[in-house]
Amino acid sequence: MFHANTPSTDRNASTRPSRSSTPRLLDSSTRASVSLSRGDWSLHRKGAIDQQRHQRKVREALKANLADIVSEQSLITSDGKKIVRVPIRTLEEYKFRFDRGDQQGVGAGNGDSKVGDVLARGGRPGPGQGAGAGDQPGIEYYEADVTMDELAELVFEDLGLPNLEPKRLRELESEALRFTDIRKTGPFANLDKKQTIRQNLQRNARKGEARFGDLATDDLRFRTWEQTVQYEANGVVLAMMDVSGSMGTNEKYLSRAFYFWMVRFLRTKYDRVEIVFIAHHAEAKEVTEDEFFTRGESGGTRASTAYALALDIIEHRYPPADWNIYPFHFSDGDNWPSDNETARVLVERLADFSSLFGYGEIRPARAGYQSSLGHAIAKIDHPKIQRVTLADRTDVYPALRAFFSLDREEVGASQ
């Protein structure tokens, strides 16, 4: 009954508040021509409902543009907790538009306009930077307010840590709610109808009546929940980043953008994945998360130092028997030539211990060459190694998908 009478469909509710509740202020018997009323419109929601339809489309648009949004500077530099405003092009309806050609229009002045009067300087009046002159709307931008969590949810929807295997010892916890028990009190949303009916039937049966009816408070049964901890396999991510002099602003930005989202991703999806941050140039150092994301360094590049440090950390703190290990390394691949062979050997050993070894190389899209480090790693034929090349900001999202896609078959940005 409620469904049949929703305000959006019921004509009487939507356009005419019911007569009985509406005081007729003008007596229609004496005056048939005009009337006035003030109805109760508080349940009218049609606009809001269609607004939701629009919002849903906005969400779809967000999703379609994730690659651009993910590398948005304002997101990466935000503290990750705020509501962010994401500019997306408004969802425009398709329309035939006439080409006005001369882009003229008619306007009205204050009484003393002359030919040659300037109405607007610097080109474009009105809403924006569009190419029109008054008659054409500028490019409309719609600012969607999204929380970081909402955005993260969209980004990580179908991502996860690949090749996660159950390991012994410390476990990864993730909390879950499970309905396990029945009680006599509780919120009505959790009413257990089946149990309630059964109780009622039983009570009636005790009185010798085989029927359902006279529902009493005593019959009500509610489902109730308890928090359970689901145990997952242990995981540690070793985030390695090249901070040498050859890494320019763009290279650093891209690797940090990737790691920014990776860290968020791990923290959102896994309650207790551990992350180790390693920065390296000619030598490698374990750093804090803050240092990792903010500090700039310079110097030569010896990637093997980072790999050696990673192996060392694994050996002492994260024995592969107990941990799923995910080393990632971002670099421009511009490695000290004599170091490449060492690096190759260490990567191979790392990969043997790892669930996945990710190597992200940042280099301009049209550079035909293969970097020295990239070449060395490419020589290794190992199922756990995943290589990705990033050229510009839009590649960050595909890189995330390539590394964290649970379906190993379709890997987007890998080469």
């Binding site: 269609d50 919002q55 969802l91 309806e93 035939f96 306007g107 009205a108 009067d117």
Partner: protein
């Protein structure tokens, strides 16, 4: 203040204004006024009519209007719906004087709807029709899925303006008493009888249903009739959109003259109310706001009001009376005819109208000759 007392006072004012409207010769449809909160008014503004079908573009309009209202960027005072009886929605936050002006303005629109030839074939029961249409579309959503319906509507709405407003196939509506109501009895009534329902001869069945014998400028009808791929329900949605578009079309054709007429009516009516001084100042302020000139966008209230006012004065009307000739004009005029026939050199000079266009990076006044301005406007209207 107490709402009941306010409403009582407003009801009195409405009666008074209705009497004055009769006195100056307006013959509007009976009009029902409904006081609504802002959200409802904006909702109606974005659907153009209460109860219309759901589509995300309506939701988008609603959101945009609501935001600009919330930030104080724009305000709708009223909304009138062309039905018989007319429905008018007043914003509940209107002040008494705003309401007086709005009521007078609404009666102007109601009179225009009732008497202008372009509205002769719009249904007086459109409120019911759009609700039934919405119900049908909701049914299709239920049956075929919301996405499916939405995609079709996206496509249909993209071409919704491409209908033929002059096509003659109006469903006979015997209950619509608009024909009896229309106009005052006159000596030429016998002539009008010839205009009684024109029954279009039933079209000969085409040899090939997908190959029409004649071209059709009505894109929606053409597709609905001849598309080889559409399902019946899809043709029905095309028909719904087309019918609603045909209903709204006259409003698009008479924007200037309709708003001008309503504005002239509210000005005339309020002059006759003998407002106290403080209210009069508020009225003048509001009126000036409504009819302010637009530097790069012609304000239809501004142009329409001043055009009609000049005509009124030329034919012997004044601030408190409307000339008889003006009533003929409101029966026959559209924006096109009004501007083509009545936009004179004096008015163009008076209103300081000009043509502007881009010169380099700037937008510059390029032309002030009155014939050029008139021709430009006519050209814009004929597309």
């Amino acid at each position: 203040m107490n709402a009941a007392a306010d409403d009582r006072a407003l009801a009195d004012a409405i009666e008074r204004i209705w009497d004055e409207a009769q006195a100056i010769g307006l013959r509007p449809f009976p009009t029902h006024f409904e006081i609504v909160p802002a959200t409802i008014l904006y909702e109606m503004g974005s659907y153009l009519m209460p109860g219309r079908f759901s589509h995300w573009t309506h939701g988008k309009m609603y959101q945009m209007q609501k935001i600009s209202y919330d930030y104080g960027l724009s305000k709708i005072y009223e909304l009138v719906i062309n039905t018989n009886p007319c429905w008018a929605f007043l914003l509940e936050t209107n002040t008494p004087i705003q309401n007086k002006l709005v009521v007078a303005h609404v009666l102007g629109h109601a009179d225009f709807f009732a008497n202008n030839a372009y509205f002769a074939r719009t249904s007086g029961r459109m409120l019911d029709s759009v609700s039934l249409n919405a119900e049908r579309i909701r049914g299709y959503e239920f049956e075929h899925g919301q996405l499916e319906v939405e995609q079709l509507l996206d496509a249909v709405l993209a071409i919704q303006e491409h209908v033929d407003p002059y096509s003659i196939e109006m469903p006979d509506d015997p209950d619509d008493d608009r024909t009896q109501q229309r106009g005052t009895p006159g000596p030429y009534d016998d002539l009008f009888e010839r205009d009684e329902p024109i029954v279009a001869p039933p079209p000969a069945p085409p040899r090939n249903p997908f190959r029409p014998s004649e071209p059709d400028r009505d894109l929606l009808r053409f597709i609905a009739q001849h598309s080889p791929i559409l399902d019946d329900w899809e043709r029905d949605i095309l028909g719904i959109v087309r019918a609603e578009m045909l209903y709204f079309y006259p409003q698009m054709q008479t924007k200037v003259v309709n708003e001008g007429w309503a504005t002239l009516c509210h000005a005339t009516l309020l002059h006759r109310l003998d407002l106290p001084h403080d209210e009069y100042v508020d009225f003048a302020d509001l009126h000036a706001g409504v009819t302010s000139p637009g530097a790069q966008r012609l304000n239809p209230y501004h142009l329409g009001f001043n055009l009609l006012k000049a005509i009124n004065e030329r034919h012997g009307g004044d601030d408190e009376h409307l000339a008889a000739d003006l009533f003929d004009l409101r029966e026959t005029a559209s924006d096109l005819s009004l501007i083509r026939n009545e936009l004179t050199e004096e008015i163009v000079d008076d209103l300081d109208l000009y043509i502007y266009g881009p010169v380099g990076d700037d937008i510059v006044v390029t032309e002030k000759r009155w014939e050029a301005v008139r021709d430009r406007l006519v050209n814009d209207l004929t597309g």
